[in-house]
């Protein structure tokens, strides 16, 4: 508790280029960029594969391969290849980390829509694309959002590693704190990351309320 008070109670922590607001913004920037790239790749891909049934193997392989990949190892590898100080080495591992949960849940969601429902949609005269966008996707939306949420939380937590390669973000408090043995900084940084993850979780709960049809939310 004292640690926390020392960290958050210190007015100088709240301003300047290494203050909390700046670090938080940096952290959000990396995270948002990585998350958006992953979502733009994985959501359409998952929808397409779930709808057509083609490429299902790709989902399985990608999911397993990516899960086995150590984020830190990948980071070091990319840094070696791309050099310290650029954003790319941070983005790549985060994107790679975020794709599997989105891809797998989107695919499962779309593929798992009741066969009778799919049948009814075609039977009414919807075309393939209309079936995907007007029936399968809205019904699969809770699962798609689950995948996005898992990815976002992982990205936000893992973006801490940006600090390892000389970039900003909340990870700086942890890395710098460790280096200077300022443990209140380490703990303060960790609390901020955890808080951010909670905020993301909360944001998705709200998003769910707004975009998921009550008809689907209840059935789950």
């Amino acid at each position: 508790m004292n640690f926390l008070f020392g960290f958050f109670g210190d007015a100088s922590r709240w301003s300047g280029p290494d203050g909390i607001p700046v670090r938080l913004l940096e952290h959000l920037e990396f995270s948002a960029a990585a998350f958006l790239i992953a979502a733009l790749v994985a959501v359409p891909l998952g929808m397409l594969i779930g709808h057509t049934g083609r490429g299902a193997l790709l989902v399985v392989v990608a999911a397993n391969a990516a899960r086995a990949l150590p984020t830190l190892g990948l980071l070091v590898l990319v840094v070696l290849l791309a050099g310290v100080g650029t954003v790319l080495p941070v983005l790549i591992p985060l994107v790679v980390l975020a794709i599997p949960p989105i891809l797998v849940n989107t695919y499962e969601g779309v593929r798992g829509v009741d066969a009778d429902l799919r049948d009814a949609a075609y039977g009414m005269g919807l075309r393939g694309r209309q079936v995907l966008f007007r029936t399968l996707t809205p019904v699969a939306l809770p699962l798609i959002l689950l995948g996005l949420r898992l990815a976002a939380i992982q990205v936000v937590s893992t973006a801490t590693v940006a600090a390892f390669v000389g970039l900003g973000g909340l990870g700086r408090f942890i890395i710098d704190g460790l280096a200077t043995k300022t443990y209140e900084s380490v703990i303060g940084g960790a609390v901020l990351v955890a808080g951010l993850a909670l905020a993301v979780q909360f944001a998705f709960v709200l998003l769910d309320r707004v975009v998921v049809s009550p008809g689907v939310r209840q059935v789950r």
Partner: protein
């Protein structure tokens, strides 16, 4: 009119679901495909709207080969109702019903207005329009399914066991509702069921299919019951064919006589019972205008003295009919005695399932 001309469906695994089917579905009437599970009813039905394409042969709709028509376009012109209703869970009831109008590019307002009309037509409270499917009972969902199929006023309706997932009481009311709707709308309806009672109740024509997708008999329900083409059909119709056939004979012609004085009535003229000493004994009623001979006979059997009470639509006594009066009519309609069998020759042997050599 819909015609099947030598239609065969062989699935990729070699199963012959429908074998060289020839039949005509008359316009403006209900044609029921009935038969045991797996006999190819669903396959036959789904070939009409091209949810399945025939392997060979031809299906025509209004004289056109369905294969010449782009499937989504074809389907928008054909109502389709399936067993579990298949409502879109994420859409409100009103939008579920308006599905095809939306697809056809109607304005939202016009489509919704139409949807509200249809909810009323199928006997649903318009207050349900804003609900989601999970908030409705199975029977209500099925009604919505029917409303959705009718929304763009297609001339043809395909129904695949639409009422088999609801309980018997709801099923009976949905059947009655369909008959009422049909008397107004005169659609060309193909109705699939495995329930022979449902088939004879709803069908203007009943096509009995045997396993392997071959037509065993096609006839009106009364004819089917009196003159089953072969043992398969006879067995499928089950017991009580004679009694059930009476459902198709109107009780109008039952000769009534004035109610005797031992029939107690209330001041409105509605029956209370047969006087026997101090007691009132059981009685049975039928309405000659709307009931069948089966109902009349049933009423006679229910009455303590074997005399059926004829009532009008308000339940007031119009007269009575003894068993003699009912027997008279029974004799008139009874099937001709002994040597009358099968007008259509029993199809070639083989009652076994379609075990054609796989390709």
């Amino acid at each position: 009119m819909i015609t099947f001309e030598g239609v065969t469906k062989r699935y990729p695994d070699g199963t012959v679901a429908v074998d060289d089917l020839d039949l005509e579905v008359p316009t403006g009437a209900i044609t029921v495909f009935v038969g045991p599970s797996g006999c190819g009813k669903t396959t036959s039905l789904r070939m009409i709207n091209r949810m399945i394409d025939a392997t060979s042969g031809r299906i025509t709709l209004h004289g056109r080969d369905v294969r010449e028509i782009d499937p989504p376009t074809l389907r928008r012109g054909i109502g389709y109702v399936i067993q579990q209703a298949g409502l879109f869970p994420h859409r409100k009831i009103v939008d579920n019903v308006a599905t095809v109008p939306y697809l056809l590019g109607w304005s939202k307002k016009k489509a919704r207005t139409r949807a509200m009309e249809l909810l009323e037509l199928v006997g649903l409270d318009p207050g349900l329009a804003g609900r989601y499917p999970f908030q409705l009972s199975g029977g209500q969902q099925q009604r919505v399914g029917v409303a959705r199929a009718l929304a763009a006023d297609p001339p043809v309706l395909l129904m695949d066991e639409p009422f088999s997932a609801v309980d018997p009481i709801v099923r009976a009311s949905l059947q009655d509702e369909l008959l009422r709707l049909q008397s107004e709308l005169r659609k060309t309806i193909v109705f699939v069921t495995h329930d022979i009672d449902e088939a004879v109740k709803l069908g203007d024509t009943v096509a009995v299919l045997r396993v392997g997708g071959r037509l065993a008999q096609m006839a009106g329900p009364a004819t089917l019951l009196t003159e089953p083409a072969d043992d398969f059909v006879r067995e499928f119709l089950g017991r009580d064919r004679g009694i059930r056939r009476l459902s198709f004979i109107s009780a109008k012609e039952v000769r009534l006589r004035p109610a005797p004085s031992d029939l107690a009535t209330d001041e409105a003229g509605r029956p209370l019972g047969w006087r026997t000493g101090d007691e009132l004994a059981a009685y049975g009623t039928f309405d000659p205008e709307s009931d069948s001979l089966r109902a009349a006979l049933d009423a006679a059997l229910l009455s303590a003295n074997g005399v059926a009470v004829a009532v009008d639509e308000d339940g007031r006594v119009r007269g009575v009919a003894g068993r003699d009066a009912i027997d008279e009519l029974l004799a008139e309609y009874a099937p001709p005695p002994a040597p009358s069998p099968a007008p259509s020759p029993p199809p070639s042997q083989g009652s076994g399932p379609a075990e054609e050599a796989p390709a």
